[in-house]
């Protein structure tokens, strides 16, 4: 009895917890769960789930409605549920040579650009790795800076250089090297220049990160054992930088395949790429089911490269 009496006042004297304190206690107790769940739910809701809706729309028909497609599931009178799956959009895309050629052309342009980025970016990354302690961070900064400036404006800068009366043609005319302007803007060449220019940092940075970790003594060992520099490069350096090459190549290849701005501004309708077709199908033609089907086929083409990229990213984030 005395025990209970002694306890009572202490409970009453204890300050009541505010809403905030109770909330904080809850947060602390479910700490792990909250940290995982909040971003995961966000990504599922706004990144994963939308793909299923796109897939659903790709199986619908164009309709005069808002949004402009037929519903997949309809409740008819009498409680009958009908499910309509229309594969016409896929048949249309795959049979129409325009779409097929555009997919092929997009892949051709993105693969070629990736190779050019690799051939130019590899020596640049290697040169930075081999620079002195003062030059290295400055050079790295010089590579990263364009990556931070507006993508759109960097593409625009090339419009000024490549135009018929642009800087390059003006210079060549004044030097007397050409008599009339060379057509560069609104050609495939311009699209290549634009892609290589804007995606190059994405190639250089993973390569740099990979090369930076290389053990220089391996090269020395190879040289001591009588290996020529070219031989050392192909048998030691190149295989060791493979993870960087793959990560950089995929970072260029995957987004470049679906590129919209560069073919639109620098290709000007003369270069067909699938990202541009998709955008126009959606915005000008308002044919959402076909646009959705175009997106699904593009995703299907890119899903394997994306999985490979995820595999390498996962490995990179695991080992320090």
């Amino acid at each position: 009895m005395t025990d209970v009496k002694a306890q009572k006042p202490t409970i009453a004297a204890a300050p009541r917890k505010t809403v905030f304190q109770r909330f904080m206690r809850r947060v602390q107790n479910n700490f792990r769960l909250i940290i995982i769940a909040v971003p995961l739910v966000w990504l599922v809701l706004f990144f994963l789930a939308p793909f299923f809706i796109v897939a659903k729309i790709s199986l619908a028909e164009l309709a005069i409605a808002s949004p402009p497609f037929t519903p997949m599931i309809e409740w008819l009178d009498g409680g009958v549920v009908t499910i309509r799956l229309v594969f016409d959009n896929f048949a249309y895309i795959l049979n129409d040579s325009l779409y097929f050629d555009t997919y092929v052309n997009s892949l051709k342009i993105s693969v070629t650009s990736t190779i050019i980025c690799l051939l130019l970016g590899y020596p640049i990354a290697y040169a930075i790795v081999r620079s002195g302690p003062v030059a290295k961070p400055l050079l790295l900064f010089a590579i990263i800076l364009p990556f931070w400036t507006s993508f759109l404006l960097r593409v625009y800068a090339w419009m000024g250089l490549l135009a018929d009366q642009g800087t390059i043609n003006n210079l060549l005319l004044r030097l007397g090297l050409i008599d009339e302007p060379i057509r560069m803007l609104y050609t495939e060449f311009a699209v290549y220049v634009g892609i290589v220019y804007t995606y190059m940092p994405f190639m250089i940075l993973p390569l740099y990160a990979n090369m930076e970790k290389l053990d220089g003594s391996l090269n020395e060992a190879a040289a001591d054992l009588g290996s020529r520099p070219t031989n050392t490069f192909f048998r030691v350096t190149l295989p060791l930088t493979m993870p960087g090459i793959i990560a950089g190549s995929l970072l260029v290849f995957i987004p470049a395949t679906g590129e919209y701005v560069i073919p639109d501004l620098l290709g000007g309708g003369n270069v067909q790429m699938i990202g541009r077709v998709l955008f126009n199908e959606f915005s000008s033609n308002s044919d959402w089911p076909v646009a959705a089907a175009v997106a699904i086929v593009l995703l299907f083409l890119l899903v394997i490269p994306i999985i490979i990229f995820q595999y390498f990213q996962g490995k990179a984030s695991q080992d320090p």
Partner: protein, 280 residues
């Protein structure tokens, strides 16, 4: 540095830097061109800057873009940091593979696909719940957070892996609760990554054209949407002026951030050296 750069590497480096910077330098020079035709030089002038400053359309686009970028950067940094912590510090948990995949995919997903899928998601949500209503500010911000948080998570993951777990383990051994460890040890040490993640999310948002074009509604023009609609028809001197201002602003901000982080790194290194010296 284990050997000198060969001449070939030096030449490639110089050519590469020229390739990166000449287009932007030309863009800046031609913004001071008096002529109405961008490529025809008509003498030095700042008239296109005046045209720009008088344009209300430009100002409202700048205001909208900055507002979206600010909210996006803040939310994406919070969500991205949570994601980074979960991936690096929480060991195995159910759904980790899915989580990892969802964190990496936005980095490479073509923008047209992300944009289209977010748009149909917003329409579906609106039909079901009457939210988010008219497309514009809210939808663009949500779309930007979705891809920005992936970039922040990568930055945070790299820093978390790099700094190791010893201090956190020590704090936990001394009886600190996980939440306390996070606020007292992990977050303060993550500061450089938090800053660069925030800046990255901010610029990604300011830069985005394609995804914003898909999810925007009538009247909500961000700066890239405005710029794109003007340059689609060709070169515009006032856009050169706008580009110059943007490039200079970015260059200044990033330089300051880089210098601050470089100093921080050097201070960290000195601290570690001192600690190592005291140990011996």
């Amino acid at each position: 540095m284990y050997s000198r750069r060969s001449r070939f590497l030096t030449i490639m480096l110089i050519l590469g830097l020229a390739f990166f910077y000449i287009p932007m330098i030309m863009l800046v020079i031609y913004s001071f061109n008096d002529s109405k035709l961008v490529p025809v030089w008509g003498g030095w002038s700042v008239r296109w800057y005046q045209v720009l400053f008088e344009s209300e359309e430009v100002w409202s686009a700048v205001a909208l873009s900055l507002k979206i970028a600010f909210i996006n950067a803040t939310c994406a940094t919070i969500l991205g940091t949570m994601a980074g912590l979960a991936m690096v510090r929480f060991g195995r948990f159910r759904g980790r593979t899915l989580f990892g995949g969802l964190l990496v995919a936005p980095l490479v997903m073509p923008e047209v696909i992300t944009g289209l899928s977010l748009l149909v998601m917003f329409i579906a949500l609106n039909q079901l719940f009457g939210w988010p209503g008219e497309r514009g500010f809210t939808t663009i911000t949500i779309a930007h957070i979705t891809f920005s948080l992936a970039y922040v998570a990568v930055t945070i993951q790299a820093r978390l892996t790099g700094m190791g777990e010893t201090l956190e383990e020590a704090a936990a051994d001394l009886g600190a609760k996980p939440f306390k460890v996070l606020t007292a040890i992990t977050l303060p040490r993550l500061t450089p990554a938090l800053v660069s993640g925030w800046l990255l999310a901010f610029t990604l948002s300011l830069d985005d054209l394609v995804i914003a074009s898909f999810v925007t509604g009538p009247g909500a023009n961000t700066l890239p949407i405005l710029i794109f609609s003007r340059i689609r028809t060709g070169l515009r001197p006032d856009i050169n002026a706008l580009a110059t201002i943007i490039i200079l602003a970015v260059a200044i901000c990033i330089s300051i951030a880089a210098i601050l982080m470089f100093r921080q790194q050097r201070a960290d290194m000195l601290d570690q050296q001192m600690a190592a010296r005291e140990d011996t």
